[in-house]
Symmetry: C2
Subunit: 440 residues, 2 copies
Amino acid sequence: MIEYRNLKVALLGGGSVGAQVADLLLTHGDELASRAGAGLELIGVAVRNADAVRTPEIPQHLITTDAEALIHGADIVVELMGGLEPARTLILQAINSGADVITANKALLATHGTELFDAAEQVGAQLYYEAAVAGAIPIIRPLRDSLAGDRVTRILGIVNGTTNYILDRMDTTGDSLEEALAVATELGYAEADPTADIGGYDAAQKAAILASLAFHTTVPLDAVYREGITEVTLEQVAAARKAGYVVKLLAICERIEIEGKPGEYGVSARVHPALVPLGHPLAAVHGGNNAVFVQAEAAGDLMFYGAGAGGIQTASAVLGDLVSAARRHVIGGPGVAESTHANLPMLPISSVITRFQITLSVIDEPGVLAEVATLFAAHGVSVEAVSQSVAVGTDDTDATATLVIVTHQATEASLSATVEALEQTAVVASVVSVLRVEGL
Amino acid sequence: MIEYRNLKVALLGGGSVGAQVADLLLTHGDELASRAGAGLELIGVAVRNADAVRTPEIPQHLITTDAEALIHGADIVVELMGGLEPARTLILQAINSGADVITANKALLATHGTELFDAAEQVGAQLYYEAAVAGAIPIIRPLRDSLAGDRVTRILGIVNGTTNYILDRMDTTGDSLEEALAVATELGYAEADPTADIGGYDAAQKAAILASLAFHTTVPLDAVYREGITEVTLEQVAAARKAGYVVKLLAICERIEIEGKPGEYGVSARVHPALVPLGHPLAAVHGGNNAVFVQAEAAGDLMFYGAGAGGIQTASAVLGDLVSAARRHVIGGPGVAESTHANLPMLPISSVITRFQITLSVIDEPGVLAEVATLFAAHGVSVEAVSQSVAVGTDDTDATATLVIVTHQATEASLSATVEALEQTAVVASVVSVLRVEGL
């Protein structure tokens, strides 16, 4: 029997992830010790309600409501409370007491990440957060370490399981958004108040974290452009499939050359529904699963796929960080700071260049297509494909047709101008929808 | 301008990967330094032929044919020569001189890995090898760090791009194995002598590396069961698709409970063609791409996808390791040894439990299906599905039918006994093929 030095681990939060982490620490202790080169002794679990029923159960003698006292004397603090406060204050206390910190708190990192990383750097502590994005899928470590010698150019992420479940269900069963959301709530995929998920807020937090890391740049949450899925209709989803696409809520992080400044780059981060071609690996991500598609200059296309957040899956990521933190303690020396050495400027959504699918309801008469095409050309937007569906109308004079136009790459700004002009054109009855196309 | 300490990097090998690594080190130096916290100074590239033309070009003053002299005084040695010797001797010299070593040499790791890891542990050096498996796809670091707190139960890997290209082409174009191989050779996917790829030897080396790492166990190369794709026919591929499968060459690493010893586990590693259900994420891995599907107790199913080996992609993985090694130098302290603390026993292929698809040519007469089914049952192999194709024959008396049987999970041993018995049964004209089914 090898004797290991014991590291004291304090857990803040006894919810579904916390209870799983506690259980794995208690039941797999020997195995974890042999991997970490140090024992991981759970010294306590700080909770709000000491009497709550937890699954798996946490031994009562480990439960405490005094988080501050628990942190005092811990080598590693694991924060799984969620929310901004008191999580922020407690993490700063832990860092200042010399502990390494592991957190799954995406809201906190997206909001106060810079403050926390700076605090950690000052005392040589390390902040781990693999569990904050895409549950058990290793994405932070690959971006931080494996791709550290490469240049990431773009990330397309399905990082919210709830919205992926809803969109996938609309696509496969023909449910409306409301019906699919009801099922997601019933199955526990969606919370009672689904705003954070379907509004794209959760995905925007993850986009801020991924963009910061991938581009070595501070990306504030409010610089992330955000649209949720609330406006996505069953008709759009059905029309997309017919045209060879699926609708996904994507978190997109890009390094973009700044207009008029060759060789100078900025960062864009955005969350919105997008059409993804059926042959793209992201199109095959079904149900509540997550996937992060990464493009890098040398590595080419990579994808990381797996279950999204879930108590036990997130616990796996937390334990991976715990073993890493323990190994670092065994080695000694300060942590490696999160680097924002590039500090590229944040670009507005209008700088983004992508493709668009525009669906128009038009008067069904000769010359309309030519008029519409001329208008696109006048705004510098090049059309890749047009399809026209069967005309419908009560009589010949007000017959309308549906035009579906897919553009080549265009800026958001020129597309917006095109749409504005379309809306003022007599032959266009209405602009039915504008969707971005990603992954082509 | 921040001043960094310089780390001296020696490169062994100036082939397609080596030339890319040298080029990236020379052109991205400042960026790499800011990420690593230390300058990475390329002090030389050891090659066999100093006059060879390289793409990208390596400055002539860096070229040397004296690898031993180059290693002397290097902080980090990058071995990209391939082959067992002199790579093994040079890596041992580098380790013993106190350098960290980065290698992409799968053959060497699969054959002499234990010796190299032991040598590194003794002096506190680190051996990095992300580039040895699946090119730029981060798989070593996720297994080693991200999943360090979890228990991996199974790995299914498409880890050889050549064979995936060939099988994918047979499936999508109807080319024969020979035709597909000819195209692969023409396009540079296959080498002049394709034995290492199509014989499954390359995949077996990667299976040994992955199984060692995932199960914390020494997995010798000769304990990996190996079948290549040379016996795969176009008929099998076409029949598989009809039945809802694609044929893939898989590297499969499993932790298996030892028969008769509840709670005791062994390790199996094997490489062979297998049927993969069309809905499985691995079925969508086309062309020369690689993907590694990992199942872990807590994390559930994960998949890592990307381009297989290629000069620039592999260089990305090498540079990621270089930055990690440099960060470790900045922090100081010994490396973390590769742990084989579990050291589970290796199990023979006969212990493996999987599903099988057996294709039989049978006499077309009443009672045949019952006789065949009875024979499966007698050997403890449970049948999940049977399909019978249209009978063909020159006249009524020697009419034959094709039976395709998919079994529930069965051991290789019981399946072998079943096949042997089938071959001696009068109603069975021949056992046309036996394929394992994975990923169900």
